[in-house]
Symmetry: D3
Subunit: 248 residues, 6 copies
């Protein structure tokens, strides 16, 4: 169930039975010569919709731009500053807590969001405790990173071994190929891909990773793989969501 395709009266009814909502968050950033700029948002959104269906839960609008400052040396990348993203998350949670939601399950498609999201959860709990909103002290946030699901990780290892890499990976590219087969890209990929460098600022990142990939070979991706990753992630995260919803 998509929040965007529902009415406020439907939300009102839903809230009588569940206070949980799924919020997909991605990023808008370079994913190498063949990966889509929207990869992280596309994956998070698709999986979140799947989880929402499987778990009969509302799925909020996708947060398309996250924390990708280190990618902004490549054209087309957009990033919020961490401090902006913290405010954004706090505004989302505050609005929805006023509605009556108390369980926020973020399905995340981008490793670079994790630290800021965790900081945002802490900031939001403290903020809510200062407001006069019923149940504000019962608010709980949880982070579900699809690419860190055990089953996903295992399949990626099986299919790609160490060519999975850590950015512009074949697994995430495969998932976007499954979702948007009309947008499968071809480009020469040097076998000599940079890897293992730490991440600092944007200019430094581009120097170290000249084509944007981090140790990955996305040429291995296929839409069929993408379907497998999708199904595994939906299954794992549906379980996580329901466990979260039912926990005290």
């Amino acid at each position: 169930m998509l929040l965007h395709l529902s009415t406020w009266t439907e939300v009102e009814s839903y809230l009588k039975q569940s206070q949980g909502i799924i919020l997909p968050i991605g990023s808008t950033e370079q994913h190498g010569p063949t990966g889509l700029i929207g990869t992280d948002a596309i994956c998070a959104e698709a999986i979140a919709k799947g989880v929402g269906e499987a778990a009969s839960a509302f799925v909020g609008p996708t947060i398309n731009v996250g924390m990708a400052l280190h990618h902004t040396g490549f054209p087309g990348s957009i990033s919020l500053k961490p401090s902006t993203l913290i405010q954004l998350i706090q505004d989302y949670i505050t609005s929805l807590t006023r509605s009556g939601f108390t369980k926020f399950f973020f399905i995340n498609g981008h490793g670079g969001n994790i630290a800021t999201l965790k900081a945002a959860f802490s900031e939001s709990y403290a903020h809510l405790s200062d407001l006069n909103i019923p149940n504000a002290d019962r608010v709980q946030c949880r982070l579900g990173n699809w690419f860190m699901c055990g089953s996903v990780y295992k399949l990626a290892k099986e299919l790609y071994g160490n060519q999975e890499g850590s950015h512009a990976t074949p697994s995430e590219v495969a998932l976007t190929q499954y979702v948007y087969p009309e947008a499968i890209k071809q480009a020469p990929l040097s076998p000599d891909v940079a890897s293992g460098h730490p991440i600092y600022g944007a200019a430094d990142f581009r120097r170290r990773y000249p084509d944007g990939r981090m140790g990955s070979n996305p040429a291995l991706a296929t839409p069929e793989h993408g379907k497998q990753f999708y199904e595994l992630a939906v299954k794992d995260l549906s379980n996580s969501y329901l466990e979260f919803l039912n926990a005290e």
Copy 2:
């Protein structure tokens, strides 16, 4: 052309010929008993995609949540504070200016965003002038509100007269019906709809407009009307975009 379905190398090529980008911005807010919570984002996104195709321009990711604080008395509404939205817009523009973009055309689906967007443009121009980014002083932002296009306004008057109202309007509902025919909602709508009240805070708004509509009769909407609105808005805003792109 969707930024999210492109690669950074495609963006790099595009920037050699154009520095323009279209950014759809909507809202996540109640739209009466039959209007979708995502109405404003859905309309902005659909029209932006149409304009992007018509004008061969990149369309960035949709900003799904805008400034809708006055709607947050209704469940399911999410709003950024104006100060958060200003930071968000500044972060978007700063990132994309680093990429080389200088012409930002926002296609907007929500009247409540207009004031904050204008404030954000001013804040961003001043911010950019302090940075060391080439062409930062050439950055220009323009706002295209689809529902204020002359042709759209005229058709709404013809079809609905004063039942168009000013929120949860049949014209915007029609457009969402055209885009998502699977999500057409039915609910009893009182003919006695509130209208003409000023807008203050969220609790006050809900008192004045108990079902969320502002003077509108969305039951008049049809998907066919939606198609007409869509085509008129795409045509008008494509012209606006190209005029903006080519202007000094």
Copy 3:
């Protein structure tokens, strides 16, 4: 009645009968070769005092500096960033709501303030709803732009036709001549005045509008015109204020 010329005990008495206050806001910005830098503040202040007398209402201190970032390419202009102005307005409203005021009528002399003021009102309503102040949820703000009063607009058209322009206009210059006849300026004004350009950043603005005027011929202004504008604006805005005060 000027707040600044009153005591706190007088305010305490007033509040038993009225919770309304008028807040003049102007700007400190270039107004062409003959317009005063304080034009917008002078006009707003003079009219606010007139409305305060006519309506027996308190008039707060003039906000002399507003949102004029696009004028800061001309010496003597001062601007707040929109985000600063939002905080300022929120601080004013919060302080006065603690006093017991709930109806805030801003008499505005500068078009560039409008967007940020509207954003500030939204931000303030939400902020107040989080505090423990009696009647905070009854706070209402309204914006009265003197130059947009119907009668003012009509007179300007009659007197100046399309030489009214949109910045450093003869109507606002006339009003300052009426208020400060000792500060009437003379300078050669090219008949070839720029007009019709959009507004972006400060450097761009100065390039497009080299002497600061936007399509106006302020040489047409006279103090007698100013008196007429003053009286029309006071009458119109007094009515608006009283209507606002008495509305639910």
Copy 4:
């Protein structure tokens, strides 16, 4: 010379000979049963105008609202938060430094502003050093508190002894009587006035100082005293300004 009664071309000419500007800052706060709410702004503005004339210097628009949080328990008081005032001061200084001003002389009428102004100067110097503005590293701010001028202090002691007190003092009340003789207030003043308590929050302040005065007897004030205070302050601060202007 008032900035508000000048044109940008006059400022441009002035800047060729002087880069100094005087900025009056007051407060909007209770001043006891007979003191005007605008006392601090009225005094700062009047003296600043006098200094501007004496020193042939531009006087900017009065900052009417300062840091008076501890007075907001009394109706009619308005305060900025310190963090807002810091941003406001930074915005003023940044705008005027872009114009070419480098010497900022603040004539202050309120003790409660001092700490925040000093903090704001520090914040502004650091901010300016990050921008690309010519002469930004030559910017200097100085604070002139009229009530702390040696000659003013001496006269207050002579006239009022320990009945001068420290808030709603006869000296400042006298000065407002001189400037606005039409707004001289009468009210019974208990001889048993609170004094010597430290200042904490607003509710605490009102408990300790029930009528708003701090150890003062403003009934001693006369307009003639006010004239003397005015002239002493103008003389002292004119010297201070010129010394500041000519210093390296």
Copy 5:
């Protein structure tokens, strides 16, 4: 070498040979009935001093208060909001980059700081790239969490097994006993310690973890263990620091 026990001329000399600095960061938060409130700062500071000696590197002043909002339900705990900590870290890094430092090695004693520190590093890189500071684009930050060193982890498992827990652990308590043997505390510790619950807001945390411990048995700690942990951590982090310093 402690920055605090050095002069600016000594720093100037050092910078000719090294641009690295070690910054200890802890927390001020409850650590169960027997753990010191300063545990995380004490551990980080002691180890940082050891690493500074081993690696001939400057050690900056300890950041004693970090991100511990979830502990603020227990008396004595102090926390920065994540957004405050981000600004603090940015201010530290900006100041020291102006000095000429470019390699920032944070020795951290608190798991709750990790997310915010990572967010702060990203925010700082972007901030620095906007300034005119030489070498700002060469700034690198690295995080060394002493409790996550392989050798430390291994020893804790050997000594305490699953009684190590995850907060108020015997390993960190042991380290504080080694550093401050005069402050070893005794208190009855229930063998029935809560563990395995997720972390949300402060009130929730105290409900789930009534005595503050998370699955740990700090009664197992001894000063001798503390010495071992200290030596292992110093050795591991000295290697990490030198590797970081010498890396490109």
Copy 6:
């Protein structure tokens, strides 16, 4: 009693008898060729510990970095922006008020902190009044600057006359020599030391005060003097603390 060497249960017990806490705040900044960068923090911390013992009061963790922007032209100096320091102080006070503390006594070692601390106290009182914390409206902050104690000032005059100066003074250097005799520095000090200049930005400060001293001759300092200063300051501030604690 050091908060850092205590447990939360000890704090809980203490709060039943006292709600006072001492918070030392220093700075990390150049102190001339022979003064330690940590001088202000070292002095504040040592004296605070002494006062804590004398008055049986808790002493919180030292705030090692304060407002020293004007010193950042010298290597090794670290400063918070005033706006950051305000947030930090507010976060400290808010956390500890939740614990039950209401009397905050800041022992300060740096003149440059005073303005920002005062601003922070005002900001914090207002912030607390908006929260739902018991006793928040009873919170009181007081500032104890050790170098401004009457007895300290008198001794410095006796020992050093006008060679005390105003930065890198022999009195503060002496105190650090007493606390850290192992870190007594020797360096040639020109007798021709700058003094009497106002303080503006960092680059300007370094130009005016090339070796960092302001009119001082720290070569006069001895550890024995330091002991005297320490004892005088502890005595004076212990009295101040107890007076503050017992005052209404």
